[in-house]
């Protein structure tokens, strides 16, 4: 495992071996659901502009969704446990970082991480990434997908221009 370069590069089997160093990457996804309310309103825009841009989502009393969050972690299964990370631990992280902050909350008024931002799917997905990424210490966060409805979702990834991503 440790020596697949150097002279080994001359043997026919060397190339697959080198590639194999990266291939046992497995993606693990856990899904949770939470219910929250929000509204879209930018105080820097006029009432007419807010209505034009955000439409029904600008209703001042807000509205709500059942959000579905899919969190995907990438990593090599541990040879002893066969796990990328302990699902129970991921469940606890999601409970602590996401559910307690967002479930049955008003995202405009109760989620400090979103202060000053419009609580769109895009922005909530990014906040969730930023909350989860430092907490996941086994494997690493690969994707956050947040569904606002079955037909609308946002994905958040590490930008491949800034970091190599196993494919």
């Amino acid at each position: 495992m440790e020596e697949s370069s150097g002279k080994a590069g001359n043997t026919p089997s060397a190339l697959p071996n080198r590639r194999d160093k990266r291939t046992p990457m497995v993606l693990l996804t856990r899904k949770v659901e939470f219910a929250a309310s929000h509204l879209y309103h930018n105080p820097n825009l006029s009432a007419e502009e807010n209505r034009r841009i955000f439409g029904k989502c600008n209703n001042p009393h807000g509205h709500g969704h059942n959000y579905t969050l899919e969190v995907t972690v990438e990593g090599e299964p541990d040879p002893v446990t066969g796990m990328v990370l302990d699902l129970k631990e991921l469940k606890e992280i999601l409970e602590r970082e996401v559910m307690q902050r967002m479930d049955h909350r008003h995202l405009n008024y109760e989620l400090v991480e979103l202060a000053g931002q419009i609580p769109t799917c895009e922005n909530i997905a990014r906040v969730i990434w930023q909350l989860l990424e430092p907490k996941i210490t086994q494997g690493r966060l690969h994707r956050v997908r947040l569904y606002e409805s079955p037909d609308l979702f946002a994905d958040c990834y590490r930008n491949s221009a800034n970091a190599a991503r196993p494919s």
Partner: protein, 146 residues
């Protein structure tokens, strides 16, 4: 911080269309063997689900990559108006000389959507049935990441 992360907007659309898989380059027997039931001369149909993924900067003023109403109008014009309740073989010029498999359908839809002016098309996924789906990211290697 946002430069280190990539955000994509995903949106699902539905359309129903008929098709027949048949290649003029194959004999009747070969068509029958290769395409099986899908070669039925009268065609058949599916309820397709189209999933579109767009990337771009999240506008701080709106919190959006693209306004959904702009994206919906574009997809409506480019794809749904042309494909919904149509025969892919007869009504879509691209399939006059190409077999309307869902692979080719992906390529055709990608071509139609990649000119969306307000965000970058990353990839599309077309679900033909609950058990079959196909993805296409054009020549965009970053699109193949889900």
């Amino acid at each position: 911080m946002s430069g280190a992360l990539k955000i994509e907007l995903g949106r699902r659309y539905r359309f129903s269309a008929s098709h027949r898989l048949h290649s003029p380059h194959l004999s009747e027997e070969e068509n029958c063997r290769v395409f099986g039931k899908c070669n039925n001369p009268y065609g058949h149909g599916h309820n397709y689900v189209l999933e579109v993924s767009m990337s771009g900067n999240v506008d701080p003023a709106t919190g959006m990559i693209a306004n959904l109403s702009d994206l919906d109008a574009f997809v409506e014009l480019q794809v749904l108006d042309e494909f919904d309740c149509k025969s892919l073989n007869e009504d879509v010029p691209a399939f006059r000389d190409r077999v309307p498999t869902t692979e080719n359908l992906c390529i055709e839809i990608f071509q139609r959507l990649k000119t969306f002016p307000k965000a970058k098309l990353e990839r599309i996924r077309v679900q033909e049935t609950g058990n079959n789906s196909f993805e296409y990211a054009g020549d965009n290697p970053e699109g193949n990441q889900s």
